[in-house]
């Protein structure tokens, strides 16, 4: 019997490609049930009083944007809809263009004023050191904001933040890996006793079950978490502004379903061929 290694793997590539292209072209979508961790994430933001200062850290790049950008978009909608004040930071150098474009699109929907309702502090290099610096003194970490290059104390929101993390109610990270949520937990969560939420890539999601619920109040895991969260945010966002995003995610999850079936089928067929071949030899 022929070995699986004799099989040209490009046939698998082709079937996989055709499957995904065909299903994406069909564009069907279906709602998903919401898991507890996502519900906790939503509830943690929802319960905060109006005007609370929330730090959002964008720790991702284009390679993980497929999973994290929908979560980030949903979170910004959720926070602004609930009239929270957002301090946006990045510990990944590739994140600032995403955050700038998201805020430029979403902030006007909620009449959010730059410097009062949200501020962008931009990228800070150094990974753990960056987080340690932010936790120790936000003013030392960012003497100026990044959008208009204004001094820290000239920005009303930053003045209200003060120097330490004391006035920040919640820290949310969109974490793609290192540095990310595990480093925020170590450098800021534990030291300054700040409530943490995270949106993570699928690869990092299993790690977070170890920290939930005591050191991490909730998390959005992978594209699944993003879809579930957007379903919840759709009810609070202004004028159905995330409906299109939600439907896009839902239709992607349906494609994902069939791709997973295909993967399981490949594992089963590969094993059947292997064991049949071994028996006959």
């Amino acid at each position: 019997m022929a070995s699986v290694h004799d099989f040209d793997r490009r046939w698998i590539f082709l079937i996989m490609g055709l499957l995904v292209v065909g299903l994406v072209a069909a564009g069907i979508s279906a709602p998903m049930p919401v898991s507890e961790y996502v519900d906790s994430y939503f509830a943690t933001i929802d319960k905060l009083p109006e005007g609370s200062i929330v730090m959002v850290s964008a720790d991702f790049d284009p390679a993980s944007a497929a999973e994290l950008l929908p979560m980030y978009t949903g979170t910004i909608h959720h926070l602004l809809a609930k009239k929270m004040r957002i301090v946006n930071v990045c510990t990944w150098p590739a994140a600032p263009p995403y955050t700038a474009s998201r805020f430029a699109e979403i902030a006007p929907m909620y009449d959010a004023v730059y410097g009062e309702d949200w501020v962008e502090l931009g990228f800070l290099p150094g990974d753990d050191v960056a987080m340690g610096t932010i936790g120790q003194s936000l003013r030392s970490a960012y003497p100026r904001e990044t959008k208009n290059n204004m001094a820290y104390d000239d920005v009303p929101l930053l003045r209200d933040c003060g120097d330490s993390m004391g006035n920040i109610e919640l820290l949310i990270t969109m974490s793609a890996g290192y540095p990310g949520i595990l480093e925020w937990i170590a450098q800021v969560g534990g030291r300054y006793e700040i409530e943490l939420l995270a949106g993570t890539t699928a690869v990092q999601t299993p790690d977070l079950f170890a920290f939930y619920p005591s050191q991490l109040s909730g998390f959005l895991g992978a594209a699944t978490g993003a879809t579930q969260y957007l379903q919840l945010v759709d009810d609070v966002a202004i004028d159905g502004s995330v409906t299109a995003d939600k439907e896009t995610q839902q239709s992607r999850m349906l494609v994902q379903t069939w791709a997973h079936y295909f993967m399981i089928l490949l594992i089963i067929v590969g094993n059947v061929i292997y064991f049949t071949g071994r028996k006959s030899s």
């Binding site: 944007a65 950008l69 003013r139 920290f211 995003d245």
Partner: protein, 316 residues
């Protein structure tokens, strides 16, 4: 970007405003580089090589700019010479705050000056690779990182972590129930007490045996080997879960790529003549959109390349 723009009426040829409708020239570049990378699945080829080298060049330049702006210009030049910087504070007899602590501006200047000097020593590596000078900034980096990691991680991932480890599964009896918002009741596990007791036993047995497997690595007695075996089983299931999530993540990336390509198949991006108002753009219009047109070109060039190679071999 993230929003699929299937129903775009018209798209500009070139626009730097990235919040509006994506421009056609950008769409062409976007689709070309996406498809050029995908062409690697067939085999290594000039399109992929071009994409690969552009990626390295652009990535290096982008990251360099970010590190230059936020890691050198801001903390050194702006900090010392910028508006409200240390030099200005020296002239106005002000106070500089470092980490919330008030410091004399001269001291601040000396401190950051030393950092500048050490940074220059690091650059010396370029000119004298075996010089001892780059060791000094390296030593600072290692000391700072090691201490920061050691203190932060020990507190959060050992002291607090172990404390919560025994608290969470016992006090949080609702860990397995999905929220009230769950659309499908089948996703819930009923609060069946015996099942939770069983789950917690599984948790503690798994945790202690996995820890035993990691820590007691010397002289494996029969009992220790048995416990270790249970630990290995726990870890294998954990790795299986990680594998399942990895598949989920990688496929999600692929789906997003294909979905993004789909958004550029709108008639607004077609390079063919614009259809009359109210008329169906037709198949030709679709064929002339960047994703399809570029796919056809790449496939044609690769097929032509195979043809030429085969001819060459036949003639040889």
């Amino acid at each position: 970007m993230f929003l699929a723009l299937q129903d775009v009426a018209s798209a500009p040829w070139f626009s730097l405003d990235l919040t509006g409708t994506p421009d056609i020239s950008g769409a062409i570049l976007y689709c070309f580089f996406t498809l050029a990378v995908f062409s690697f699945l067939y085999k290594d080829n000039p399109f992929y090589k071009l994409a690969e080298h552009v990626f390295v060049g652009l990535g290096t330049a982008y990251f360099t700019l970010q590190y230059y702006d936020e890691g050198i210009l801001q903390p050194v030049y702006e900090y010392l010479f910028g508006e409200g910087g240390v030099i200005e504070k020296m002239e106005t007899s002000g106070i500089v705050e470092i980490g919330g602590y008030s410091v004399d501006p001269v001291m601040a200047l000396v401190f950051r000056g030393i950092a500048g000097l050490l940074a220059v020593m690091l650059v010396m590596r370029l000119f004298a690779p075996n010089s001892w000078m780059p060791r000094l900034p390296l030593a600072v980096m290692v000391g700072v990182y090691a201490a920061l990691k050691m203190t932060g991680e020990t507190q959060s991932k050992l002291v607090l972590f172990v404390g919560n480890m025994f608290k969470d599964p016992i006090t949080n009896s609702n860990l397995l129930s999905w929220s009230e918002l769950t659309a499908q009741p089948s996703w819930r596990i009923e609060n069946w007490e015996a099942f939770f007791v069983f789950s917690k036993i599984v948790f503690f047995v798994g945790l202690l045996s996995a820890l035993t497997h990691f820590i007691f690595t010397y002289r494996r007695t029969k009992v220790l080997a048995g416990i270790s075996k249970v630990g290995v089983i726990t870890l294998m299931i954990t790795f299986g879960a990680m594998f399942g999530f990895t598949v989920l993540g990688r496929i999600a990336l692929l789906i997003e790529r294909v979905d993004e390509m789909k958004s550029y198949t709108a008639s607004a991006y077609s390079l063919g003549p614009a259809p009359a108002a109210g008329q169906d753009p037709g198949v030709l219009s679709l064929m002339l959109t960047p994703p399809i047109l570029i796919s056809v070109i790449i496939i044609a060039v690769l097929a032509l390349g195979i043809g030429i190679k085969k001819d060459g071999r036949a003639n040889a």
